[in-house]
Symmetry: C2
Subunit: 148 residues, 2 copies
């Protein structure tokens, strides 16, 4: 039987969050945290609105998910995020000991994957490239608008 | 003339913040952000109280300083922190483009300095070992209490 709650399903939810960021003139990155096939946190980048470099989608998702769970560790949780996490977010996700990270588009310039040594927790499974085209497209559309 | 507002003066303020964390049963790390010889933000680790891995002293200091300045970049600011920043905090400080980071004790296990490639912004000046003994001592005292 086909599972409708697959990676693509949850990445679409993260993309809907990215669109909310886009609509607020924020770099369009969105995230959801999933536990037992249920979304327990949704967030999008708010760095400009909050005037705060720490307000990345992933950071807010970690805080919201921990709040929901009543514990600061996100073991048995999966983060879906439209863009590859940066150094800050990889470090935070490592502290949270999250089980799995699924990201859409790669970020060759700012992504955490560009270092020789992994910045993630050794027990965290990383999966990139889910709906990468759609996740890239919204970023390209945002920056194309900025250049106009 | 001797400048009373030297690195040691500001690190003592960061240590006072670390003591506040200690008193709340938090891993005792404290930080202050200084601009034009004035402290514009003070913070201490609140990971347990807030149930949030992102609540490191540095992260709160970045948010508070940006709030004070009305801009998210901490150019011309110095962060004084009692412990070497971790990956998450180094990443956040890089986004903030902070001019200088002065830390007390090194953190060989979790510190951002253990990677071959710097995690900091290329323009950020890093200075470690200021009042390292005092900054280490409060950590050792905290963990010794925990083992009792």
């Amino acid at each position: 039987m086909i599972d409708p709650y697959n990676d693509e399903y949850f990445m679409k939810q993260a993309l809907a969050e990215a669109q909310k960021a886009f609509d607020r003139d924020e770099i369009p990155v969105g995230a959801v945290v999933v536990a037992n096939k249920k979304i327990i946190a949704r967030s999008h980048n708010l760095s400009e609105v909050l005037n705060d470099v720490t307000a990345h989608a992933e950071m807010q998702a970690i805080t919201a998910a921990a709040n929901h769970l009543g514990g600061k560790y996100l073991i048995d949780c999966t983060l879906y995020v439209t863009l590859e996490p940066c150094v800050m977010c990889a470090g935070a996700l490592s502290w949270a000991q999250i089980s799995k990270i699924v990201y859409g588009a790669s970020d060759d310039k700012r992504g955490a994957g560009r270092f020789d040594t992994s910045l993630y927790h050794p027990k965290t499974e990383i999966s990139g490239g889910i709906m990468a085209e759609e996740c890239s497209e919204i970023m390209q559309r945002f920056f194309a608008n900025k250049r106009k």
